[in-house]
Each structure stands twice: as C-alpha cells, then as structure tokens.
C-alpha cells in the first residue's frame, strides 16, 4: 500500500484501518529511525565498544521494525474479524450463542494484536537509550523523533488494548492482558 493510500484509508469512514494500524506504523517509523542512526558510518566518539553497542541495538531493532510493519496489517485484519462476528446470524438460540462466542474470540484477537504492538514498541524503546547515547549527534533529532513516535505508538496501542478489554467477558484473559499492558506502558514511559 502506498503512503497516500494508507492516509486515504485512515481518513475514510470505513472502520479499518484505524488507530491501531496508525499506531503500529508510527512505531515502525520510530524503530526504522533508530535503525538508521545505528547504521551511520560515524558514532558519537567512534570508539570500538560504542560501535559494538550500536551493532547490538541494530541487530535487536531490525526485526522489531519488520514486526511492527506486519502488526499494522494484523490490526486491520483482527478488527475486520470483530465486525464479521457481529454480522453473524442470530435467528436461533444456537446461532446467538455461536455469535457471542465468535465476537468474544475476535475481541481477544483484537486485543492481542495491539498488546503485541505495545510489547514491540516497549522492546524498541529499551534500545533507544543506547542509540541516543552512542549515536552520531548529527542525527540527534532523528533519534528524538524516534522516541516520540514510539512512545505515542505505545500509548495508542495501550488505548486499543483497553477499549477491547472493556468488552471481553473472560476474567482471566482480561486480568492477564490488562496487567501486561499496564506493565509495558510503564516501561515505555520510562
């Protein structure tokens, strides 16, 4: 999809893609910018241990950028499943029960995806300190924008976890996902 196509799709009144996809793309952009800083020919002091720290961060960050790109699509797919479940027939009691189960299963999927987005953003932010500390100062504003975008993506993913958890009846799932989301958001904010 082109960037223009994504923006048009976000602006359209169709329910997907929505905030979860936008948050994942923002997180992917932030992670990509951190990857860029780790790949610059010069680091802050060009010391060997500094270059090694940046190489470590780079190896960790590259798969996270790829993962966030996939999560942008997965978010749209998971929300489409929720809507498909709501459209199931509810003419008989059996159909009503099957529809309720399908909605609950789909809502869990639509919670698991932004929870994973939040997890990956928190994981990328865990490497941001090393990138800012050791990266070429000429890219300071790139690293700064990266952190801003990853934090906004983490907060946005957390909001999407919460809004779906509100409709989930499975108390164990709700408690576990809610606790992990709170823990990850706290990590992302620090």
């Amino acid at each position: 999809m082109t960037v223009g196509g994504l923006l048009d799709a976000l602006a359209s009144p169709e329910p997907t893609p929505g905030g979860g996809t936008a948050a994942a793309v923002a997180g992917a952009m932030g992670t990509a910018l951190l990857v860029m800083v780790t790949g610059l020919a010069k680091s802050r002091t060009n010391a060997d241990d500094e270059k090694a720290a940046l190489a470590t961060a780079r190896a960790a960050l590259q798969p996270l950028a790829t993962r966030l790109t996939a999560l942008a699509d997965e978010d749209t797919a998971s929300f489409n499943q929720v809507m498909a479940a709501f459209r199931l027939s509810k003419a008989t009691d059996d159909e009503k029960a099957a529809r309720t189960r399908a909605i609950q299963d789909a809502l869990k999927g639509a919670t698991t995806v932004p929870l994973e987005t939040l997890r990956v953003c928190a994981g990328a932010l865990a490497h941001a300190g090393a990138v800012v500390q050791h990266g070429n100062p000429s890219a300071a504003s790139d690293a700064g924008v990266a952190v801003l975008l990853l934090r906004a993506a983490a907060e946005g993913a957390h909001a999407n976890v919460q809004i779906n958890l509100d409709s989930i009846k499975d108390a164990d799932f709700k408690a576990a996902a809610g606790a992990e989301a709170a823990r990850l958001l706290a990590a992302a904010r620090t």
Copy 2:
C-alpha cells in the same frame, strides 16, 4: 512511495528521509484519523448542532492532512538542499562566500518546513477537541491515537526546527522562527 518503501528509506543510513519526514507522516496519520471520525454516520448524540460542529472540523482538517503529506516530501527535499550546499566547491574566497550563503539559505528552508509541519499539527490539534467531544464514542481510541500522533509530530517538528536554528546566523530569522515554534508547541501541548 509504499509504506514499506518509506520504512526501508527511514531505516537506511542515507540522511533522507529522516525524522522531519516521519513526523509529518505521523501528523498526517493523526489528522486522517480525525477526518475519519468526522465522517462516521453517527456522532455522539446525532444532534444537528453536533453534526454541524463535526462538519466544520472536517472541512478544516481535510486540507491539513493533504498539507502534511506534502510536507513529508518537502522535508526530504529541503534537507537534500542543505547537503547539496555543503558539497559546493570552496576553492576560492568567492566560492567559499557563495557556499556559506547557500548553506544558510538551505538551512532556512530546512527550518521553514518543520515549522510549517508544527503549524499544521497545531492547527489540526485545535480541532481535535470538537472531534473528541462530538464524535462517535465507538471511535474514541481512534481519536485518542490521533491526538497522540499529532502531539508527537508537533514535538518532533519542533526538535527539527531547533536543530536547524542552531546553525543559522541570521539573528532576526532565528528569533522569529524560534518564537513562533515555541508558541506553536505550547498550543499543541494544551
């Protein structure tokens, strides 16, 4: 450009596209999400004056989303001009003077673009309150992500204004751009 192509370009060690472009795209996504909420069939209460308020916000936000998309490209172009100016010959005193002027002119361009990104993000955020207040509550997390992305974009654009202002010698330009950036950032944060 595809979303995947943009992410690859951000991750590459080439200097552009960088944080300024990523901030503009994040702002465009946030604005597009606000446009989406204004276009939903249902508003919060479906009252006529509420629908009118959302229509007003929609008319204001649509051109801002388009503008931010263009600014993503303009940011890359303006930074490429800075690098081109640095590559100018400095063999003679005349060439040195011309190169210095070209660098300063290009830096002003590379300041004006993120300043405009900041201005447009602050403008979009000025309509976010009406969208959150009157928009369909089922899209609350979309509006929330929109605000998060626009704030991160505004902060990121401000960081790019500042880093370029640091190298600009024209005191009047520096004072005016710095003051406007500070004012817009304060507006974006509230």
